[in-house]
Symmetry: C2
Subunit: 391 residues, 2 copies
């Protein structure tokens, strides 16, 4: 399989280090490192102040270097959604990985079991929501020869209101916890309770109501577990749109925000929760105008360079421009005000992606810029280690 053209592109990115932002090829994913580090510190400070464990979701950045940076700033580890993401980050030196998702496929579970067997220095954890899933997990560990008691942390996921994965709160969850405990090699680590749909409810009152529902689901499950004499070591969940609410509820001991590090246009469209830490946009697409006519400027960034599942990108710079979808490879800019200025051919246009997670997954690298987007320099290239790690 020919890799040479891709390798040359990666070398081209590496050659930018130390150089000017103006030399970055377009379209490219650029991190404003100063803004990102402020976000990093604000979330770390929040978690420390509330006495919460912080386990950021690395499905967002898929980057071992950023996961290690988060852990150097107070995070206990990171979450991922896929076993192949976990393996990619472990290969990049991340030593505490929680797959906050179900895996039922025997071949995938065998990959995880193999990793548990061969990398005991990494702390591994996974979620379950079915009897079958627990039995297959235990069987895979047995095949891999893992016998250490509690070698793998297992969280029982409850449906906290999202109607996606997760067992019903209460007795059904307690039965799964007891089943986990019946396998010595598994440690019942607690409950996974994440309400994804709540994250983007614009109205703070609606978000509060959704997380109150999730907190009740946790409480109901705690009580069912208590009736069986099972303690809940930890409840983990929460995202960048709601984590203040989970913290206030005191039902969660660990929070899993991901997007706070980069912030995207969709999260920024939320009305903020009173008292919540504020995060800055730190992820941008550098694009440039490659076609101009009297009423529009067309940039070289379409939805192969930014995901549009949660809305189109916003134009960060220059001001006063609307972004319209131009397809896979184009974005169409028009002035917000009739007669407003349009950038000229070759001019740089900075975009804020609608949704950071799937946008990052389109790119092999992110370019970390120090000193601002306009006069800064490229400090380092951050590899998207788990890009395309779907399995």
């Amino acid at each position: 399989m020919s890799e040479s053209a891709r390798d040359l592109r990666l070398q081209r990115a590496q050659a930018l280090v130390g150089g000017s932002v103006a030399d970055i090829d377009t379209p490219a994913l650029v991190i404003d490192l100063d803004a990102m580090e402020r976000n990093l510190q604000r979330m770390a400070a929040f978690a420390a102040e509330r006495g919460l464990r912080l386990r950021p979701h690395a499905k967002m950045h898929k980057c071992a270097e950023l996961a290690r940076l988060q852990m150097a700033h107070g995070a206990v580890g990171v979450c991922v959604q896929k076993i192949d993401e976990a393996l990619a980050l472990a290969a990049g030196g991340v030593n505490d990985l929680y797959i906050s998702n179900q895996v039922i496929d025997r071949a995938k579970l065998q990959r995880l079991a193999q990793a548990v067997a061969t990398r005991p220095a990494v702390r591994w954890a996974i979620a379950v929501d079915s009897t079958e899933g627990i039995e297959r997990l235990a069987a895979a560990l047995a095949v891999a020869g893992v016998q250490t008691p509690g070698a793998l942390d297992v969280f029982v996921e409850i449906d906290a209101g999202q109607n996606r994965c997760g067992v019903a709160p209460g007795d059904a969850a307690a039965a799964l916890a007891a089943q986990v405990q019946s396998h010595a090699v598994l440690r019942f680590a607690g409950l996974q309770a994440y309400h994804g749909k709540a994250q983007h409810l614009r109205d703070p009152a609606e978000r509060s109501a959704a997380i109150a529902h999730a907190a009740q689901a946790v409480q109901t499950t705690r009580e069912a577990l208590a009736r069986q004499g099972i303690a809940v070591p930890l409840v983990t969940g929460a995202g960048s749109g709601s984590f203040l609410l989970e913290a206030d509820s005191r039902q969660w001991g660990e929070i899993q925000p991901g997007s706070y590090l980069f912030m995207d246009a969709d999260y920024a469209a939320n009305q903020p929760l009173p008292g919540a830490p504020v995060f800055e946009h730190a992820l941008f697409i550098r694009s440039q105008v490659m076609s101009r006519s009297a009423d529009r400027a067309v940039v070289d960034a379409g939805h192969k360079s930014h995901a549009i599942d949660s809305g189109l990108p916003r134009v960060a710079h220059p001001a006063g421009l609307d972004f319209a979808n131009g397809g896979d490879e184009h974005g169409i800019l028009r002035p917000v005000q009739p007669g407003g200025a349009l950038p000229g051919l070759g001019e740089t246009v900075w975009l804020i992606p609608g949704h950071c997670d799937p946008t990052v997954n389109l790119h092999d690298v992110m370019l970390g810029v120090r000193g601002g987007l306009h006069r800064g320099h490229v400090e380092r290239v951050l590899a998207v280690d788990a890009r395309g790690a779907l399995g």
Copy 2:
């Protein structure tokens, strides 16, 4: 930059060759080779019958092996949208490449000029829609030392009704053609006239009206060129939704369909043009159920495995299921009929992507299956050589 986890995934894909479809890790992009080859032959037969040059758009599959296969079945070459796509396919042995898009960035043009200088066995072509673009192109070739007359084919793109790129039809286009001709190293190769928005107009009458408008734009431009004594060697354009109309108009000498090879759910939702060749779905996502509850089955494929810009995937198998968006990593299936059957944990679910181009761009490889999705075997691994080639 750590590549080992990715390399292992690619090796895992290679190890599937010769094996059963049932062993393909999920979610994965799978090509039904039998269906794809029928599509390949139908389009080749259509072009031959009509005496049209066929230049499929390789922005769709980004795969050198498939581009070479298309050329072995009558295609004169392929189109791409980006210089880095062209370089990736040239590295994979494709020797006739047309960048059917504008490039204004001097560094990118230098990459192209370098390729023209160092790979004379490849026929290179590009589109332009501005004076500045033509001058920068000529300057880049001069820097690279290219002096051969007509070393690079240049098409002037006219706005055929899409309101994206392209100069206005008529005199403005003729002026650009004359400017191209003023540079000996450039050959004025004709007009690029592609109406992207027309491709997905569901109603055949609306599609016909849009392409009639585009044909008029071509005719107007031919006349303006004739007044300047400039012949039009070729008009190139058309996509999988409209190519019959461009063929019938007799204004186009070359067609550029891409999606016909794989067909996606969005194109299949078009009402067919009477008399148009029929193409089959040949691109699928193999996914599996990883969570079940009474009213839904959750599969392990979300919009990190399939693009949703043109709608959600359809469920190809089992029958009777609706697909709802479950976010980046999940898809939520419910029965179309209340009380209908749901697949169980671990069961395979085949999806037809909404839009093939950006879906392929999410994957490193496509698995080519022979003998059908259910009982077939993996015949070969097709690399997405130009995945992420954005520049």
